[in-house]
Amino acid sequence: MTDRRSDLFPILGVAVLALGVVGVARLMTPGPRHPADSAPGRTAKRLQFGGYQVTGRTVTIDAPRDRIHAMWRDPKQLALFMQDLVAIEGTPDRPIWVIDGGHGPFRIETRLVEDRAGESLAWRSVEGADFQIEAKIRLRDAPAGRGTEVEAHVAYVPPYGLLGHWAAKLRGLDPKARGRQELKRLKMLLETGEIATASNQRNT
């Protein structure tokens, strides 16, 4: 667990507290000292991490780590499982994500800050971007030959603060729901070759 903290620190800057172990967060709160949890920091019972909302999800996908890594680096594949992605512009090192926000698309200019084949990927919005966000994908072997545990962390500053956070949630736009749905679509794509839909009409 400590290695996770130091590993993330240079990448995620201010949001690091949220991504470390719960115990780190607990150290900041008064009361009896608790031993550090083994749980990921984002599961801590606190709402704010220095102005950041932090969310994440782990999904086990029955596919090798390299293959999953490649999916995240391929804009064509990304468009299949990131439903709100309108386009990726810019360069692979400085991608600009054009996302459908419900009221027309918005753009997030990012920098690829980590890219380790079969292990991890991270992007961070550039200074001055409209939307401040840091996203990291981490891949590790699942136990018992179950494939790969794919973990996505997202730390972001919600536009319009907490109020904006809840408003987005109510409109079904919050990054937590989007994030887990994207991971599940990726899983479907890799495990079944298609993305499940209940529709029996091609164009709906």
């Binding site: 086990t60 749905q181 479907m188 499940a196």
Partner: protein, 389 residues
Amino acid sequence: MRALTWHGKHDVRMDTVPDPQIVNPRDAIIEVTSTAICGSDLHLYDAVIPGLQGGDILGHEFMGRVVETGPKSTLKTGQRVVVPFTISCGSCFFCKATLFSACDNANPVETQEASELLYGHAVGGLFGYSHMTGGYPGGQAEYVRVPYSDVGPIVVPDGVPDEDVLFLSDILPTGWMAAENCDIMPGDSVAVWGCGPVGLFAVQSALLMGAGRVIAIDHHPNRLALARGLGADIIDYTQTHVLEALMEMTGGMGPDAVIDAVGMESHGMAPDNLMDAAKQKVGIGADRAHALRMALMAVRKGGRVSIPGVYGGMADKFPLGALMEKGLQVRSGQTHVQRYGTRLLDMIMEGKIDTTFLISHRLSLEEAPRGYRNFAENQNDWTKVVLTP
């Protein structure tokens, strides 16, 4: 095409809707030749399962002919298939473990959200059921889009009548799995609550698995007679004190295993059931778990409890103490239909299983609303309805 659609409590109609299309590569389109109404459909008809939407096409027991295939389907046009009601990808962790109804990939991501919240995990995908399980258009229709057609459908030879194999889609494997979940040892006594199609197939399966005595409990004389016809002893709960009778009939031990083939709409005037009924009526997610409570009380110490009956919400006054203090083992779930297809098809072909004895009514698909009404209101005479488009 014509299809039976749901519009609210006790309101199902025949509608004209768009024909289904191939959407994903592994899909096939089936032209339905026979379909049935299930006890689970009654939970939808009575609107006690959450997550239905007006216009949904119901039906999850169906078979037919393949009329169109996607590029990755392994089926061939013209083949006859029975389609499992559980939609399963065949390749996820759960499908590989033959826990097909728990498939991780068949329920679209948007509709996984509700059950993740309600049950702690997203449940699988089912035909013609709640939008919590995907809201997939069902089989009480002329045509159905069948996803993952390379792993689900059971191909049946020409010449075998539809009625012999139709129930491979659901109630036959459901009754079989219900009995299998009892871990029956030769000579065991098994008590079965509910002599609907599921209970009846559970009775037949338990006897085939070597149960020494199967005791079936219901209140409809015709349904009890069908159970007796299979070789079960019967108890009419309106005439007999069930718990006392079960003790006396099992040498004072209680049944080795019990099966709840009633589910969330238990009948009867028992005080706990009246309270559950009132809560269910105002829609606070309470299941009428009377039969399950009885089963937990009746089963012997260290016995097995099998629950094929469907529940969707919460139950209170639940005899948790009986469960723990008697050291019971509980197994349940939507049936892992694909696990049993070939084995049960073989047993049908060898004449070891009778699948048609329970069919009381054969109607056209257009008459489906009448079928629902009678299957719900006149259960004594209407034991199973088969519809043909």
